[in-house]
Structure formats: structure tokens, C-alpha cells
Symmetry: C2
Subunit: 330 residues, 2 copies
């Protein structure tokens, strides 16, 4: 595992420069570590802001665009942005209809985004918060509010973005985000760690023939570590855990996100998807518009996360609504 | 490096099953290892067929769709499909206006596709061939016809597909493909190997602190192997080699494809793109619609390929034309 980079200290800033240079139609960097839509906030539309540590592309920046997000504050790799950067992102997203903060449940991000919200309140910009807490491996159902946010975020971005694009008010956009966040359950497994540039060493160690089920996207400990199992057995365990946790059953409709953490190739995601589809078909559950690819990564970590999004007619409509960004295709 | 798979012998077939199941709107598998557009050939349109070994997603299958390809024959990992599979793909692509075979310059693929063309000739289906030979590291300019085809293929797919969508005839579609193939130059470097499932071991060995410039996508030997250099130095060497080989200079317009071979994360592609943009700007060369991502991979290999596509008004128009597939966005 080797990094293509210059000085580790410049990793994030050079990455953001390149990202904005490659996608000028979508976003710009009006201030350091603050990414906003090209052309600025949309008057009269609820703004949607996200943010968190770097190292998870396309999360966060890649989902800024019409029908999706308006701005993001970006921290160092796996580290929270500052509350000032978050407040700035909120100002850039503000079109006069309020701002939703939509992000993952990590301590530093929550503290800083809450402070940013207080700052904006003094500037008479109304804002709300919806936290993603979809990683079922990170806490039991009885403590679901402690769960970390992972790839389910992508579904929530899409649904909230669509509701805002339809000119829902702040309460309506917040409700769509919360409903979608509540509809998502995720679990992942890791095969190899990644390297945080400024640390220069792997985030964890794991045997050459081992996997860890339930590991978090920053290397947080999982549920079990054992020999690498066949893809079908892994897929079965993941989907069964999500079905049990969510209560989704026969006759329901779901979307799935089969997501590589980075190094695991598309070929293997499709092998996993094949089994998931067969298993859900056996259970009488329909898959609608699955996503298979790299939507929320940990740089070069090998592993896969699976997100189940329980659909109702509203969420299904919002996920299918038009949008335009480099990393979600409708 | 660990694979998420079941039996190695089932890797390709399970992958193709999952791929078609995930994207039913775009393609189906009418015969084993033959992927064709959902809904069949388009009457009156020139069909475009590609093919080659598995292990390079989204190449080949991922580029089937309106404005792009019509069918593909898929071999084992890094191995040619059979001439029968290629002939079948051509029949599925045939809308009565002839078929273009558009693929990379590898011995097995050329032999089998030529045989497939002869088979189709006996069935009164006209066909032509355009080979991609864009990898400048694989042979000197004096032997350019010996060069291997790599990610430049994606530009040729797009241009030929657009010309066919405009209802160009077989000669016109072939000319557009040839012109775009001729306009492309690529070079890559590798940091780590990948594992071919049925071999079960890495395709090559390389030191923990080493890179190999010019290595082929199947691990073919490159130009030099040395300590891993900073991203900017690598970017400079790659673009300078491509500029020299192509003769592209001040005042010209190019597109770039900065492509991860698999494990190298998007973050690092953007760091490379940042430098390329700055260097081309200094030389007075404009970059139009760059592509940054995973367009032609070698499963979990770490490394990057760079493709330079020299534009004229025709190629620029064809690359910008509408299309619809899971892996190219216009």
C-alpha cells in the first residue's frame, strides 16, 4: 500500500484543488476546505450542507450539484473540519430558506456542526440537523443513536436534495432526510487497512488470510475477525443482519448500495450483488435501482459495505428524481 | 490483497451475472460470456462490438448503451474470449448496417476477432476492425503498431458510438474510431500487482517502496523501476512522455483520462490531475472535459494510467455527444 502524493501535509489541499479543477461545472472552493456549488446558493431553495473528514471520496464533495447537496466543509483525512469551516459552508448554501446539516454521527463533527449552527442562528439563518447513524455493527438496536454514519448517507443526500429541489421548506426537507436516514441500515467488512498520509502507517493490522466483519470505515473495531469466507457466505451474513435489524420482510421494496471501501474491485462487488439479489428474491423482497460501486470509501482500504434502504413511495420517488453530480447517476 | 469471491473458476461468470442483474436497463447476457444491449440491436445503426479478457471493469461491458457500444465478448481474467463468442457478440450487435470491431491490440484478441470477422463475412455481415494501440511504453514510435491498447479505448468507444448514433455508415463509424484511436496516447505506472483468481498469486512482485513506470495493465514489464517518486514528478514524466510522443503543443485542445488501475483512490487521482492541469496550462494547452476515475482497471492493482486525447472539432463533438451507460457521464 503506497500513496501517490507529494508532501503528506498537502494531501487534502492538493486533492481539493484537483477535484475542483476537474469538475468546475459542479463546484468551487470559495474558501479553504469549503466546497460550494458553482454559481452559488439557489435563491429560495433550502440549502443542504454536509462535511467531515477527508479520505472518503466521493463522500462528501462529490455529491454537490443540482438535486443533491449545496456545500461541504472538509477536514483533514479522517478528522473533523472546524466549526468555522462548517459555518462558512452553511453561509454558502443559504438561499434564504434555511439550511439542513446532514452528516454522519461522529463526535467531532457533531460538536463542530452544532457550534456552526449556533453561529448561524446569530446571523438569523435557520438550520436543522439530521445525523446518519446507519452502521448496525457499531451499537446494538437499543443504542441506535450511538451508531456511526456510513454509506447510508448517500441515500439521505439524494432524498433530501430531491425534496429541496422540489422547493420543500426546511421542515419538509429535514423530514425527508430524517425519514431516509431512518430507513437505512449498513454493515461492512474490511480486508486490508488504509494509510492516513500524515501518520504514514496502516490504520490497523490484519492477517493475510483474515477479514473483519463490522469494522468501521476508519478502522473502528468490528464484530468478529476470522479467516476470509466465500463471497456468498459474507453476503448472506451482511444482508441477514440488515434485514433483522430493520425488520424489512416479504413484499417490501428496498434499494441496495454495494460499496467498495476502495481497493476491492467492481468485479467482486458484482459477485456480492449476485448473491444478495438471489437471497432477497427468495425472501420476496424487491430490489429497486441498486447502486454498485465506490460511493463512500476509505482511500485504498479493501472491503465492502452494504446498505439497505427500505423504500416507501415517497423515498422511492425522491431517489429516482433527476439530479446532476459527478457521482450519482439518475 | 484478498479476493471477495467464491470458487475462482466461477469468478467471471458470477461477476457477469451480477453485472447484468445490477444494470438490466442497459445490458443482458443472451449467451454465456456474450453481453448485448437490452432490447437488442438497433435497426439501421452500425453495431460496435468490443471484447477481451475480464478483470478490467468498467472495460468492456460497462460501456454498452445508447451512444456507445452494442455488445461485448468477455474472456476469463486477462484471457481472450473465443472467436465463437466474438462472432456471437457481432451477431447481437448487427442492425443491418455492419459491425465495427473496436478493441485493444493483444495477440489472442486479434486472432480470435479476425476469425470471427471471417465467420460473419460468410453470413453476409460486413465488418471492420479498429485496434487501440495507445500505450507508448510498450513499443517505440517506429513500431507504434506493436503497442498495446489500454485506457484510450474509452475515448474511441465514445467517439465511434456517437458517430454510429448519428447514423454514420460503417466507413464513417470506422473512420471516427480510427481517428480517435490515433489521437490517443497513454502511459501508466504500477505500485502493486493484482491477483488473477485462478492463479491465486500476484501477477508480479515489487518492493514495498518501489514503482514501475510503463508497466502494462496485465503486469507486462515497463520502462524503469525505482523508488516511489512524488506525485508531481510522476505526473510530469507521464505528461511529458505523452506530449513528446504525440507532438501535441501550444494552442491545442486535449482531453485527459486520469485512470486508477483499481486500488489507487480518487483522492490521489485528483492530486495527479492538479499537477497535469498546471503543467498543461504552462504549455498553453487546454484541457476539455477531463475524466478522473476508474475507467479501465486491473482489479485491485494500485497505479495510475494517463491518456491524452488530442482533439479536433470532430472528436470534441463526438466525445461531448449524448450517451447513456453506467460508466460514462455526459
Amino acid at each position: 500500500m503506497k500513496k501517490v502524493m507529494n508532501k503528506p501535509v498537502d494531501y487534502v489541499d492538493e486533492m481539493l484543488d484537483g477535484l475542483c479543477a476537474a469538475h468546475p461545472r459542479y463546484f468551487t472552493q470559495p474558501e479553504k476546505r469549503v466546497i460550494a456549488r458553482t454559481g452559488g446558493a439557489v435563491p429560495g431553495k433550502v440549502g443542504i450542507v454536509t462535511g467531515g473528514g477527508s479520505g472518503h471520496l466521493p463522500i462528501f464533495t462529490g455529491y454537490i450539484g443540482p438535486g443533491l447537496l449545496d456545500a461541504a466543509a472538509i477536514g483533514d483525512v479522517f478528522a473533523s473540519p472546524s466549526s468555522e469551516q462548517m459555518a462558512s459552508a452553511m453561509r454558502h448554501a443559504d438561499g434564504g430558506a434555511g439550511v439542513l446539516r446532514l452528516y454522519g454521527n461522529y463526535g467531532g463533527d457533531v460538536m463542530n456542526f452544532d457550534m456552526a449552527g449556533e453561529t448561524l442562528e446569530m446571523e438569523d439563518i435557520a438550520s436543522t440537523t439530521v445525523l446518519l447513524a446507519d452502521d448496525v455493527a457499531s451499537a446494538p438496536p437499543s443504542e441506535a443513536a450511538k451508531r456511526r454514519g456510513v454509506a447510508g448517507m448517500v441515500f439521505a443526500f439524494k432524498a433530501a436534495g430531491a425534496r429541496a429541489e422540489e422547493r420543500g421548506d426546511l421542515a419538509e426537507v429535514t423530514a425527508a432526510a430524517q425519514k431516509t436516514a431512518d430507513a437505512c441500515r449498513s454493515i461492512g467488512f474490511a480486508l486490508t487497512p488504509c494509510i492516513v498520509p500524515q501518520a504514514g502507517k496502516p490504520t490497523f493490522t490484519i492477517g493475510e488470510d483474515e477479514m473483519e466483519m463490522g469494522m468501521g470505515i476508519h478502522g473502528e473495531p468490528g464484530i468478529w475477525r476470522d479467516k476470509l469466507k466465500p463471497a456468498d457466505a459474507i453476503a448472506d451474513e451482511m444482508i441477514d443482519r440488515l434485514l433483522e435489524d430493520s425488520g424489512v420482510g416479504r413484499g417490501e421494496r428496498v434499494s441496495l448500495l454495494v460499496n467498495s471501501l476502495g481497493a476491492t474491485p467492481l468485479e467482486e462487488l458484482y459477485i456480492v450483488f449476485r448473491r444478495l439479489r438471489s437471497r432477497l428474491s427468495d425472501k420476496g423482497i424487491d430490489i429497486v435501482s441498486p447502486l454498485v460501486g465506490r460511493y463512500a470509501t476509505s482511500m485504498e482500504m479493501a472491503g465492502v459495505t452494504l446498505t439497505l434502504c427500505r423504500l416507501d413511495s415517497e423515498i422511492e420517488h425522491l431517489l429516482a428524481a433527476p439530479c446532476d453530480c459527478p457521482f450519482w447517476r439518475n
